[in-house]
Symmetry: C2
Subunit: 354 residues, 2 copies
DNA sequence: ATCGTTGTCGATAACGTTTTCCATCATTCC
DNA sequence: GGAATGATGGAAAACGTTATCGACAACGAT
């Protein structure tokens, strides 16, 4: 029943280089009159095959349009030469990181594939972990996590987390200096002369948001300016809630002369609300954001913001991951990248209108 | 040397649910005291195993943290339950399509992974084809192509192209109605009273760009307004070249009173140039774009543009692909989606300034 | 003439699943 | 009480590749 030379049964007569239905190595071997071993050697340029047969086999490979089955190869070797990048959703931040990663992947010999949680990150906690278990060692050699809520993922494979908003992550991480960045943004406002500065805060459960608020406070402390707690409103990194927060602040009897938003998204929402309430930016209100997403440069007026090197984050994450996969020891397991202040048109000295 | 029961050699004593280094089905079987067949049946809920042993095996599976090897599974079955989406680069358009696809994938039982060409699309033509050969039937069950330059890809597997700018594609496609959309945009300008309308055209080799130009001409013809050929300038969908084109048009002795850009990117560039030259928009110049990328709403002033249902494109592409994989016959192989005009602040009647 | 040596090539065992088929055993019916 | 029946578990082949190792020829050196 099982014919050892069943390849002969259906001789590959067709010379059409069909691209669809897969042509296997056996067929190439049969067609070329050699063994599969030889074909494999030719495919991988291994030593031990004469240039003559090599050429011949190569020709057959081309003619049949043979492509090696990555699945079978991965099953045999444990490596796949693929790196996975997991994003919770394709928002501006993760998209930029993705671009940086896509850029860094070149010349590493790896391919990059992006998986999206599609926003179902709320449904199931520990979702990143299950994802890792599923794909690691089977579909990818390593993974980059760009999910904001990496609660407490532990994994002993090659995994790098980008901007792990929670601090006590045991994973190697690369993040921007949220504390320093926030200080810089608020310092800028203080230097301009603002003394009543409001803040639209981020998601309370994310460490990045906590750090930005801490930077806000530290800047005040360093300048000897007291923080008015009534000037802090929860924006939660959510556009709608950020609008609400901004509205609350601007409708105060004594509204702040400047607002520091934990997020560009929130800053943009604040700009919207200001326009809606007839508050002129920057003359009656200065606004500073955080992230410098592409949209911010196009806002009206263009947003002054603390720039996070998003592409660089992706770039460094890949670099770390590649080293990790190679078994190298990481010089630094927690990389913190500098932030910079991008001054555009939403900030000026208070009372500039008069 | 090859011990048939080598599983016994290293009994799985560790009860730590290690998540890293892969635990195989054999180990589970050995630990549970059953055969691999049984474990497989339990994993897949197949009939033929008592609830008692099933429970027992399930417990062991949980304890060891076993996850099935997708590679091995894919090798055995020919399906992978993964759909690949290939983008040339992560620009706004493809990112939006990606979001739509990610949305549509839910509940289909498939997972979505995105591959990026990383901009090296220029280096090698026929790149999409090689990609397809590599991944189809091995890593993914089907693919969505979101590359603008699908020259003449032929492939007989389940593949759907989104916005295949070249017409004679033999692949099933889903695209927006570029012709109708362009007509709508230009009609809008004509209805406002504009008679000298310029156009920043797109990449000459892309059918989508050609269609938009044709829409431009047809709208003129329908309104009985002659087209002034000197008012067409090549923008090529490139920011820099679009700026140049806009500059050329606006520096004409008799500049146009309105410009239709083949692209939001080009329209945004036009806005920039107008500001640079001190031309007021919309009072001295009306501008209409095409696509309605997220940035357009934030432009200054907010851009009037022809909206392409980008998310819907991704959504429909996935729907078609899933049907295709299921072996169903497609009701329509070339789906054309409606476009709509989004009126914002960059258009008004000519001479409104006076 | 014999013995290594080198250069080619092929047989074969994995990799970790799924699936088909068969063996075993308890049950039930005549 | 024996045989048909059904339920349950296991053995083994297969998926397509790669790596190891042995076979075999041709050849030069002793």
């Amino acid at each position: 029943m099982t014919d050892p030379v069943k390849v002969e049964e259906s001789p590959v007569e067709q010379t059409t280089p069909r691209v669809g239905s897969r042509v296997t190595m056996q067929q190439v071997a049969a067609e070329a009159g050699v063994s599969v071993s030889t074909v494999s050697k030719v495919m991988n340029g291994r030593y031990g095959v004469s240039t003559q047969t090599s050429d011949h086999v190569s020709k057959v490979i081309d003619r049949l349009g043979y492509e090696t089955s990555l699945v079978a190869r991965s099953l045999r070797n444990t490596r796949t030469n693929v790196i996975g990048l997991l994003v919770a959703d394709f928002e501006p931040f993760s998209t930029e990181v993705l671009k940086g990663a896509a850029d860094a992947i070149r010349g590493t010999g790896y391919e990059l594939v992006a998986y999206s949680a599609g926003g179902r990150t709320d449904e199931h906690v520990g979702w990143e972990r299950r994802y890792l278990s599923r794909v690691m060692g089977t579909l990818v050699d390593g993974a980059v996590l760009v999910t904001p809520t990496v609660t407490d993922v532990q994994y002993d494979g090659p995994v790098v987390a980008v901007d792990p908003h929670t601090g006590r992550s045991s994973l190697p991480t690369v993040a921007a200096d949220n504390l320093q960045g926030a200080r810089m943004g608020v310092d800028h406002l203080l230097a301009l002369g603002h003394r009543r500065i409001g803040m639209v805060t981020g998601r309370a459960d994310l460490v990045s948001a906590q750090l930005r608020e801490r930077g806000f406070r530290e800047a005040h402390a360093a300048a000897g300016v007291p923080v008015d707690e009534s000037l802090l409103a929860l924006g939660a990194f959510d556009p709608e809630q950020a609008r609400e927060a901004a509205r609350t602040l601007l409708r105060l009897p004594r509204p702040p002369t400047a607002i520091f938003a934990a997020n560009d998204i929130s800053a943009l929402a604040t700009l919207d609300v200001a326009a809606e309430l007839g508050v002129d930016v920057p003359d009656q209100l200065s606004v500073v954001g955080f992230d410098n997403i592409p949209e911010s440069a196009l806002a009206h007026p263009p947003l002054t913001t603390v720039q996070q090197p998003m592409r660089q984050l992706g770039h460094d994450a890949i670099a770390m991951l590649v080293a990790l996969i190679a078994g190298e020891e990481l010089a630094q397991t927690h990389v913190i990248l500098e932030t910079t202040l991008v001054r555009r048109r939403t900030t000026t000295a208070p009372g500039a209108a008069s």
